[in-house]
Amino acid sequence: MPQKIPVLSVTDIPRFDRHFFGGEHVISRIGGGAIGGKASGLAFADTVLQKNLPGGSYQGITVSIPRFVVIGTDVFDAFLERNDLGEVAQSDTSDDRIGMAFQRAEFPAEFAGDLRGLVSTVHAPLAVRSSSMLEDAMYEPFAGVYGTKMIPNNQPDTDTRYRKLIDAIKFVYASTFFRGAKSYLSITRQGTAQEKMAVIIQEVVGLRHRDRFYPNVSGVGRSYNFYPVGHAQPEEGVVDLALGLGKTIVDGGRVWTYSPAFPQAGPPFTTGEMLSNTQTDFWAVNMGKPPTFDPMKETEYLIKADIKDAESDDSIRLAASTYQPQNDRIVMGTGADGPRILNFGPLLQLHEVPFNDLVTMLLQSCQQALDVPVEIEFAVTTDRTSEGYSVRFGFLQVRPMVVSSATVDITDDELEGDRSLLASERTMGNGVVDNLTDIIYVKPDLFGKEHTRTVAAEIDELSKRISDDSRGYVLIGFGRWGSSDPWLGIPVDWGSIGGARVIVEATLPDMDVELSQGSHFFHNITSLQIPYLCVRHSNRFKIDWLWLESQPIVAETKFVRHVRLAAPLTVKIDGRGRKGVILR
């Protein structure tokens, strides 16, 4: 078990003085109770920065955690109790109904003044994030389980800004009881009744470009790499970068992945693959025309923009390279005409900004402070000045990763023998699971890219049934699990597949994509120590589909089948050798 991030007592954090940007404290609080896991992580990140970068600067890069106010869990308790929301929250009614009940409820008056005070002085976008108690107590990741809402907060009148902020907080509160969260907690043998939610209101790191507000770079860095390629070693870590808000990374979208030890080496793609796998759109906060009122929609105030928009905003200078078809080359920068590839070449290779050095230093410092591998999140703005670039690095999160240390040996006989249902040389996790009799798999003969949304819905349905029985299962499907792009994989959310104890990500000739390589979503999988196996149809190890078809069916939909075996499977993952096998 990794070391926990030190839990701050609420009294360690000063009360919010109603001056958000002009206030004395970077971190302050409204209300009492606990501050939850995410806020503890941010406070810890602040401690790491103060220790390692006391001046708040690294070779010209301004480094800080964005200012935030945390609303303690006492406010959540008061909100639920005074509005009598317990019953609807614990009921199995739809998320929409729960959300609307929360939206109609009254926010506790004694804290409302602080929030009105906050928005009365702030006109910049705010992120309203969950920071839950169980996240902290269980030391388990809840990323993607609870709601987060970004609000533009640029309306001219305080009343509207206040109302939007309150709506966003209520949305985060309601998301504690959404079906995905309930399902997740039931899998981790916790109930939502024990859950309490603190809420973080945080400055969004970014720059405004007309109607869009976004950072030039968002990133997730891990000090341990489950998928090292080339010369990279697992201990050297891995970093994912994307243009715009970090949602692209969290959602498992197209990102640029590199090893901090070899920042000039990208993923082992051909030029063609690089072109087809590069980020083509990005998320930004919508600062323009108000969207349709929908307080239940997490992305109510977000817009997805095209990379061309970013180029016209002049915000991809350090992020993009250009493909030159005439000589089949990729040239750094955007000086030439041609398709853009977001490989962050100028940022990582030109040393104009010591970005990678900073990320490496932070990963090392955090790992040293916690004595376990860590995952960090950040957002960066690069504003061009007459003297070069004014760079701000917003340190958004730090949390420990779980890396199992057990030694698992897998023989060649096991990999290739008759007992092998499937095997893989690209796996995540480490250990043995030998108690699963259920398999939910997507039928390969009927599957097609165009059906991924239907498949996601069918998996949700079958998965819910099996989760109700508290059974774990092996999940087998095609493309990137949880991808927001339905053409790249099956767009399930974590709540739908949270009951899976083993996950297999496979390809088909019709779904021959680069499989997901660690994202927020997969942090959940790894931290819950769910073995993950990647099986490419073109590799030597195949999945024995015929055998699967012959197993007794428990339930079946058009694209998905749930079978139950007479005897349990044995799943073995050798984390060091990155091999894995499922033995029948």
Binding site: E106, A109, E110, G113, L115, R116, R163
Partner: protein, 460 residues
């Protein structure tokens, strides 16, 4: 005469629950305001004179602020239920409207006098100014005893009052509100008459209306919550954690109950409340060092709001004399019932532990007691600042009514919080800078704001 020592019997505005309860007590005890041997108008003027001295006000400003701008006195004839004719004397005083339309309640009281109404109108001017709402001060009244009038007769008086004044009051000139022995029902009759005369809907003509009929959400909580918003700021300024404080509260009416509710919500512990007992015609204090259970106590009150002593004992309360609330070893005292409760005779009962007095009631402290409290260095949040949440919310009601758009409750209360917090901060800052007693600082700010408005308008 020191500025603070003349303070007594200040006004209130638009808190029907509190005021009807208060007025009933005052009547029951045979102590109507003018029987107490002083002229409140002279007192208000003396008080103003002291403030003007501190400010060094010029002669013109003193002259215009020392007396009301306008006064209306008239007769209201009505047909009584027995067929006879009753003629009632009505008043409206508009003390000053330099900062905005006049605002003030309408009192039905058998001992009402023009001087009482003048004094209360002046106090309303200062009260609106100290919380920096764009309203002036007014007050009205009718010499009558509603206990001896049927509802129909009271309706006649209400409508008659409006008929006499319709040209001189209204949403942009003078906005009445409930006060002593008038309620939301009286306001609706008056509104109906006004709209009938003017031929349109003018919900902003009057405040204190029921929710759904032009009233504002949060009005019930406003005065009590306002007391605690200022108390919270005082604690913050003194560096005291609310979680570590205890309070003793006089009264268990609307203001006290909501003050207790919010105080407990911010972490404080109420160890004593006092409450009037209708049957025994005296007050009792209910003490529990472990903290009183507000919900449970509310559950054992009768229709007069009296707490059942036997049941309170079962809840772990010790029943003490009516004045015992004052002598509790608490950090905070919140007088939230009647005027003149902390006097020269009982001020010595105040425990050495007390650090703050937040005056939820109107004029709970006599000048003599005030002097003693000041010399003991207890931090006082003066009544017309502490309990201004009521009139502030009335202002919000008027704003909503004028727009015919009504806010959510947390909208109302969050705005109230900001207003009260800002008002406290201004008074407290002046108190520190000029080394003034909090009460004096509040008056100085209020008078200065109104005088400045008069100057800005070119009146003086």
């Amino acid at each position: 005469m020191p500025f603070s020592s003349v303070y007594n019997l200040p006004p209130n505005d638009a808190d029907s629950n509190q005021m009807s309860w208060l007025s009933a007590k005052t009547l029951r005890r045979g102590r109507p305001v003018t029987d107490s041997g002083f002229n409140p108008y002279e007192m208000a003027q003396a008080q103003f004179d002291s403030g003007a001295e501190v400010l060094g006000l010029d002669r013109g400003a003193r002259e215009i602020l020392r007396v009301p701008l306008r006064e209306y006195q008239f007769s209201i004839p009505i047909r009584m239920d027995d067929g006879s004719v009753g003629v009632y004397r009505g008043f409206r005083v508009q003390h000053n409207d330099a900062r905005g339309p006049c605002k003030g309640g309408i009192r039905f009281h058998p001992a009402e006098t023009i001087d009482t109404v003048r004094a209360l109108a002046m106090w309303m001017t200062w009260k609106c100014a100290v919380v920096d709402i764009p309203l002036g001060g007014g007050k009205g009244g009718v010499v009558c005893d509603p206990h001896n009038l049927s509802m129909r007769e009271q309706e006649q008086i209400c409508r008659g009052w409006v008929r006499q004044l319709a040209k001189n009051v209204g949403p942009v000139t003078d906005i009445p509100a409930p006060d002593v022995m008038t309620s939301s029902q009286h306001m609706l009759w008056m509104l109906d008459e006004f709209e009938h005369i003017c031929g349109g809907h003018y919900p902003g003509f009057i405040t204190g209306k029921p929710v759904g009929m032009g009233g504002s959400l949060g009005r019930t909580e406003a005065t009590g919550y306002g007391v605690i918003f200022t108390l919270r700021e005082a604690l913050r300024e003194l560096g005291i954690d609310p979680d570590k404080t205890t309070a003793s509260v006089q009264g268990f009416g609307n203001v006290a109950q909501f003050a207790i509710e919010l105080y407990q919500q911010i972490g404080g512990k109420v160890i004593c409340v006092s409450c009037w007992d209708q049957a025994d015609q005296q007050a009792y204090s209910f003490s529990n060092p472990e903290g009183i259970d507000l919900k449970a106590l509310k559950g054992i009150t009768n229709r007069f709001g009296d707490i059942d002593k036997a049941k309170a004992k079962e809840l772990g309360c010790e029943i003490l004399d009516g004045e015992a609330w004052l002598g509790q070893d608490a950090d905070i005292l919140i007088p939230a019932a009647l005027e003149n409760q902390i006097t020269g005779e009982n001020v010595e009962r105040i425990s050495k532990k007390v650090k703050i007095i937040a005056e939820g009631a109107n004029g709970p402290t006599t000048p003599e007691a005030d002097h003693a409290i000041q010399s003991r260095d207890i931090f006082v949040i003066p009544d017309f600042l502490a309990n201004a949440g009521g009139v502030t919310c009335s202002y919000f009601e008027q704003v909503q009514s004028n727009a015919n758009y009504y806010w959510e409750k947390d909208d109302v209360l969050s705005r109230l919080d900001l207003k009260m917090t800002a008002a406290f901060a201004a008074v407290s800052e002046l108190s520190r800078k000029r080394k003034l007693y909090m009460r004096d600082a509040a008056y100085v700010i209020a008078v200065d704001r109104v005088a400045q408005a008069c100057r800005d308008r070119g009146w003086v």
